[in-house]
Amino acid sequence: MVSNLADYKTEVHNDWCPGCGDFGIVSAIQMALAEMEIPRHKAAVFSGVGCSGKTSHYLNVYGVHTLHGRVLPFAQGAKLANPEMTIVAVGGDGDGLGIGAGHFVAAGRRNVDMTYLIFNNGVYGLTKGQASPTLKLGLKTKSLPEPNVNQSVNPIALAIASGFTFVARGYAYDVRQLKDLIIAAVKHRGLSFLDVLQPCPTYNDINTRDWFSGMDNIDEMTNKPRPRIYKLEDTGYDPLVHIDSPDEENEKLTQALIKSNEWDSKIPTGVFYKNDLSASYDERMAARIPNYLENPPAYQEISSGGKSITDISKMLDALEV
């Protein structure tokens, strides 16, 4: 089956602000699904609440627009019950790192085989621009009455500390790279995280498209901007844990943490950390329940002619007096 990009688009009117980074992300997801030729009914996009929450309505696959901060529980439940599905969860940085931060950490520990994208723009756009968990301390975006009084959370570092086994960053205006990162993330067996820098043209007047492009930082020699964004892969950075040893793992975790702290003048994108040697949750389950993957909860037969076909006699025998 050759997939057509248009098949993955719905006709729902897209009401994001003109110039919003979200457009690039939704395109990248559509392109990735088409390129991987995932049948539409075998994919589901779960979303949180906020501007990014509408993403699931623009994609012509199963779409589940959940509650604020709760996208990961809903998505994990679906994946665990039907491991055949390709599950992509999306949400904003307030959704995933503010109200949903507990789920973010717990999901990392589980390592369920799915992908999570955070649309990271530093503000709560849909409620008119309050500071979100990734906005840097002291910044005063245009609708804040006072500068931000909180430290920002580092999503890459938090993902690594929580146990995500694929951690990467994309940029909403580099759709090609983002599409490739999404494909790599989906193909990764385990929980993959993509921090997507997504300028909010309406409420974040500091971390703008121009700011990421370095328009405020012109090279006097060449008279060209010095872009903040660069690609890790262009620097020879190797994110992969090659051998199953604590030393190797520590080294890769540490270099990823160090890279994740780069911000103001240089902002890395690409894959920070990838560990294929840590068992995913479904593999851990299959070790306990041998036929879990071929007979998962969603496909188990439970009745015949309206009667139960489950045999609980042994459990009852154990209780007989």
């Binding site: 439940g77 019950a81 789920h103 909860p297 969603a298 009745s303 009667k307 042994k314 007989e320």
Partner: protein, 637 residues
């Protein structure tokens, strides 16, 4: 007239083997064909605080505890201090001899309030504030005392079996205490030993050691003491009786009716159910591959309900089990399941609130909350079981309701049922029916819409992964395909479509599943949930005393079967509302839905379940026209 009806209570510090002892006792009695009803009471504590287990034994069905103790067994001072007063005048106390000199003030785990009450009692009886004082007071009332030196028994046992290790095995005093009790009560040793073997079945060596100890202590008691005035004896065994704890009923119901995904966050008393499910995660399925339940422990109850909604969207029967504080966290997601018409079952094991409340104690505090949890108007079914046996069959019904009406179902259970151990008829899975409602297995044509109109308001339901079955869900109001819509006409369509399910459920769910009518009379009790057992036992007592009273147990509390209840009550003169909460939460429903008001309330909110005696007294008072409008029950330590 039953010839056997006695209550045996064992107490000790939490972690000291009280529950094990009680399970051995219950197993030994049940093994002789006797009916048992046991109830565990404990503090929110891991080790050291007082816990106790009361087992009522009879030759006929018993469904509740009584006020009072026939035989009290204590190997620590607190048990004697706490319960000696409750021992009937013709009862007995088995106690550790070393304890006699212990003073009330020396027991740090007894709270000040209790110490003050006991002090007053002992002073009024002119007794010293010691165990001996309390025991003397009991003996003077007629109570038989059986002093036992557990230390000495262990020493003798060590010598006789040439196993010096046994000398210091104080952990085994629980088994010794049970065995002595069984000896005093005249039951044969074989069922005792079998019961010990069952309880320790996972460790052969420990089982053998405990059996040796049990046998020794049993013989010791039959030689050393004269038989107690009340004797148990084996009776013909009913076929297919199980000794089950309440939480096992909903667990087994879930396995049998095809629940294949359960998530939970640890909470008393609900998590026992999830742990049982995980312990039995793989099972046989007729003519098929082995089946399994995926049990996921989540980071909180918000995640627990989120996960089961996600799982339910794949067509999997899914549920979570929780208690009040956890259910509070689930309120928002419950509304999401409501607006998106997702079938889920929340098994709500209530305990005493508000907040953390009495975290290990009983209560029926969450009825109104279950009916109203979540913002906005959306349909749900709230269904309550009355005992362990109902728990099994009702679980299967709740999953059918969820699937047929495509909505969240809250299955009300409580701590009293959860931790009751009783002999019940073996659950019969062939009595369960499974209906998945309009769940689709296949969609041939494109063009499916999740919320397409249908005459009964319930749309065919696709599931994630089904070809041609793509749908969208959102917590926003949505159109027929599931995309966000704020259109006024669509809003009316969707709200009315969902709300209409309540009327449909009332029409379609059989009346006998909505309400159990035990007969009506001039005076009629209305109640719900686990008060059923004490009420039925109290009614038997009242009938024997020449009083007539009716009883209607309401099982479906939302939507409320107002017309049906109204018609059942047509000849009734006075309505008595009985509940284990402070405000009379079901009484409020009666007042709201019936064209009459509750006449009398009998309420209990001490965290201890009602006994049949206190209900007998309070109902009798009402019939004798000597009762206030509201009576509050207090029995229990």
């Amino acid at each position: 007239m039953s010839s056997i009806d006695l209550t045996w209570v064992i107490g000790g510090p939490q972690g000291g083997g009280v529950e094990t002892a009680a399970n051995i006792f219950a197993g030994a009695c049940a093994g002789c064909g006797l009916k048992v009803f046991g109830k565990r009471e404990y503090y929110s504590n891991i080790k050291g605080e007082h816990s106790y287990f009361g087992v009522r034994v009879s030759d006929k069905i018993v469904r509740s505890n009584v006020s009072g103790i026939t035989m009290l067994v204590g190997f620590d001072a607190e048990t004697i201090f706490r319960h000696a007063e409750d021992v009937f005048n013709d009862g007995a106390i088995v106690y550790e001899t070393d304890l006699s000199a212990v003073k009330l003030e020396e027991v740090p785990t007894i709270d000040v309030q209790f110490k003050e009450r006991l002090k007053k009692h002992l002073v009024s009886k002119n007794k010293p504030l010691t165990i001996q004082g309390l025991l003397d007071e009991a003996r003077e009332r007629g109570v038989v005392l059986y002093p036992v030196s557990f230390k000495e028994i262990l020493a003798n046992l060590a010598e006789e079996t040439k196993n010096p290790k046994l000398r210091g095995m104080f952990r085994m005093q629980n088994v010794l205490a049970v065995s002595i009790s069984i000896g005093l009560l005249g039951l044969p040793p074989d069922t005792l030993l079998k019961s010990v073997g069952t309880i320790f079945s996972r460790k052969a060596e420990i089982a053998e050691m405990n059996k040796t100890a049990a046998n020794y202590a049993y013989n010791f008691s039959t030689v050393k003491y004269s038989k107690f005035r009340y004797q148990l004896h084996a009776i013909p065994k009913d076929e297919h009786v199980i000794l089950a704890q309440g939480f096992q009923s909903t667990s087994l119901g879930k396995i049998a009716c095809g629940c294949r995904f359960q998530s939970y966050y640890p909470i008393t008393p609900a998590s026992d159910e999830s742990v049982f499910l995980e312990s039995n995660e793989i099972f046989e399925v007729e003519n098929n591959r082995p089946g399994s339940t995926l049990v996921v422990q989540t980071e909180d109850e918000i995640s627990a309900i989120g996960m089961i909604i996600g799982a339910a969207l794949t067509g999997t029967r899914s549920s979570t089990s929780t208690s009040g504080p956890g259910f509070s966290l689930m309120a928002e997601a419950l509304g999401w399941a409501g607006i998106n018409e997702v079938p889920i079952v929340v098994t709500l094991y209530q305990r005493s609130g508000p907040s953390t409340g009495l975290p290990t104690r009983h209560g029926q505090d969450d009825l109104q909350f279950a009916i109203h949890a979540g913002h906005g108007d959306f349909p749900r079914i709230v269904y309550a079981s009355g005992d362990t046996e109902e728990g099994f069959y009702d679980t299967a019904k709740c999953f059918n309701f969820a699937d047929i009406y495509q909505l969240p179902v809250i299955h009300m259970m409580d701590k009293f049922i959860a931790s009751t151990v009783s002999t019940v008829k073996r659950f019969d899975p062939t009595r369960i029916t499974i209906s998945r409602g309009k769940l689709l297995e296949k969609i041939d044509e494109p063009g499916y819409q999740r919320f397409t109109p249908s005459p009964d308001g319930i749309s065919p339901r696709s599931r994630l992964g089904l070809e041609n079955g793509i749908f969208w869900n959102t917590g926003d109001e949505s159109d027929q395909s599931g995309h966000i819509s704020e259109d006024p006409e669509n809003r009316i369509y969707k709200m009315d479509k969902r709300a209409g399910k309540m009327e449909l459920a009332l029409e379609q769910i059989p009346k006998e599943d909505q309400v159990t009518n035990y007969g009506v009379s001039d005076f009629c009790i209305l109640s719900w949930g686990s008060t059923k057992g004490p009420i039925l036992d109290a009614i038997e007592m009242l009938n024997k005393a020449g009083y007539k009273v009716g009883f209607i147990q309401i099982k479906m509390l939302h939507p409320f079967p107002a017309q049906h209840v109204q018609s059942l009550l047509s000849g009734v003169k006075k309505i008595i509302d009985i509940e284990a909460n402070q405000s009379g939460q079901m009484g409020s429903l009666l007042n709201e839905y019936l064209d009459r008001k509750v006449d009398y309330y009998i309420l209990k909110y001490t965290g201890r379940p009602m006994t049949c005696n206190e209900l007998f007294d309070s109902i009798k008072k009402i019939i004798d026209n000597k009762a206030e409008k509201k009576q509050v029950l207090t029995y229990g330590v």
